[in-house]
């Protein structure tokens, strides 16, 4: 479990993490979602004691991680793909990491095996692709079989097979009762992995809720078409129902779900040519939530003239 209390980090005059309070529960995958530069990495660095909070505090399993006697077993961390000396081999790096905690060399070979790096264990890390560096980072995180797994953008640079593997790994670790905290700037990625979402924008926590709520809190919207659309509109008109004519035979209904609309059409004997629920995706919800909190806006290519 990770508990952050009014966590704040300032660099110079710039507030990177702003009064963030949240709890990451064990036994589930918690997604940490936010645009680039929102403060995800800084927050993760503060959790594992690499960066000191300007104010506030964060506890891992009820303790300050900087005082941990069993750091690798307590928290497995992937912060950036290449946190390894370029001239080292994966084997030397992992053996050195294992040695700090007195973990056996057999464990090094286990994590090399599960991350698919056994064949390159004697190659220098400097020549690794982003994906291979990422695998080595994940191998390092898994080394101590940690209670808490913190992964910063773990699927960056991975091929589809690797992405699926990370997803399975996260789900499996959570199923074993561990705490899994994964950051991403892609909602689509989180939608497939996380049970719970914490959304951050410009250093502030914008939302903290089960992933289902991100889809369900919006009202249903349905596109309906019929030759007798006027009849149906009269039938639907009522409390909280919004109707918006989109063309001669079509209308956008906000409020009742498509089942209710279909039933009403049957009652009034209206033949429908189209009944289409508009899916409000997680992506839409995320964009809406962070629209004002995006650090770096991209402007329309046409407006900027496409460069000089």
């Amino acid at each position: 479990m990770i508990q952050a209390q009014q966590l704040t980090k300032k660099y110079g005059g710039k507030t990177v993490v702003d009064n963030a309070s949240f709890t990451v529960q064990q036994g589930m995958v918690t997604g940490f979602l936010g645009p680039n530069g929102a403060g995800k990495s800084t927050t993760m660095r503060m959790i594992v004691g690499l960066a000191a909070p300007t104010s506030g505090e964060v506890l891992v399993n009820g303790r300050d991680f900087k005082k941990s006697r069993h750091p690798l077993t307590e928290v497995g961390t992937l912060l950036e793909a290449k946190s390894v000396h370029k001239s080292l081999t994966p084997l030397a790096h992992l053996r050195a990491m294992a040695a700090t905690a007195g973990l056996p060399v057999s464990r090094v070979h286990e994590v090399l095996e599960v991350t698919g790096l056994s064949s390159v264990q004697r190659k220098k890390v400097g020549g690794f692709s982003l994906g291979m560096g990422q695998r080595l980072g994940i191998a390092t995180a898994l080394l101590g079989d940690p209670q808490v797994l913190i992964l910063d953008e773990p699927v960056n640079g991975l091929d589809p097979e690797g992405v699926a593997w990370v997803r399975n790994l996260a789900r499996q670790q959570a199923a074993e009762g561990k705490t899994v905290f994964i950051s991403s700037h892609l909602m689509s990625e989180m939608a497939q992995t996380a049970d719970h979402l914490i959304v951050i924008g410009r250093g502030r926590i914008m939302a903290d809720a089960p992933i289902s709520e991100f889809i369900d809190n919006g009202l249903d919207q349905t596109i309906v078409r019929s030759a007798d659309i006027e009849v149906l509109m009269n039938a639907l008109n009522g409390d909280g129902v919004q109707l918006r004519r989109i063309d001669e035979h079509g209308v956008e209904v906000t409020g009742p779900d498509s089942v209710t609309i279909g039933r009403r059409a049957l009652e009034y004997g209206v033949v429908l040519s189209e009944l289409r629920p508009l899916q409000r995706t997680l992506e839409d919800a995320y964009m809406e939530l962070t629209r004002d909190a995006v650090e770096y806006h991209s402007s329309n290519v046409a407006e900027t003239g496409g460069g000089k």
Binding site: R45, V48, G49, L50, A51, A52, F65, K66, K67, S68, R69, H70, P71, L72, T73, V75, T77, L79, E80, K82, S83, V84, H85, K86, S87, L88, T89, A92, H93, R95, A96, M97, A98, A99, T100, A101, G102, L103, P104, R107, E110, V111, E113, V114, T115, G116, R135, T140, L142, L143, G144, D145, E161, G162, W165, N168, L169, Q172
Partner: protein
Amino acid sequence: MSEKLATAPRGKVSLFGVLRSESIRFFSLNSTRILILLAIVLYAAIAAIGTWGIGSLRASMGGMEQMPGMEDLAAPGFASELMGSGLVFSQLILGVLGVLLFSGEFTTGSAVSTFLASPQRLRVLAAKTILITVVTAGVQIVSSLLAFAISKPIADNYQMDLDFGSDAFQRVLWYGALAVAMAALIGLALGMMLRNSAGGITSLAALFFVLPIILSILTSITDWAQHIAKFTPDQLGMALATPSSVVTDLESWQQLLGVAGWIVLPLALGAVLLAKRDIK
């Protein structure tokens, strides 16, 4: 990638563990092997060439000890002190090794891994301090022994008095190791504070080669500069290891206090910064 992972034993972090970890990484790096080899070869070569040069000069000129100003060549420990001629180069090369041991963490990003495995930062510093002290002092002892082994036949050939058990050679052997370990620890502190290899190495070189020049210029203008000049790390080291060649008016305890200062102060300052600053 497969999915099942066995449960790992509970790993407790310890100074011994971090020391082992540091050693594994240190000796896996090519830069370590290159610098150590360079230090040994250069030191032994300077000693041997020095012995040969002086020996052949004596042989060709004959009885030059009697010439005014050349009395030193006949001093009892002279051949032994020749063994320490390359000391300042050993200090610099192995000092660079000290810089890299810490700056490499930050230039490659491996500091993140290091301090995740041992979040107690001063334990990492303790491990690095022990490692670099043992390795550089050890390397310097090997260098001195090799220098002796190569130079001994040359000295014998020219009837020069090079004696392993002599006080002069023992000073070169042990104080040389101390001087080199001091330089390596200064390097370690510079690497820790500057977090940058080029900056650390340049600062170290400036300390050993530029500072003495500046001080010698100042000495001709003011008096106090010569008191400072006695305490630069290269002067302290050479005066301890080769007292007849590099004369100082400092007492032994003053010299050793100077060495202790050069070891403790930079490391202490670096430790404070290491504990406070964020790891990038």
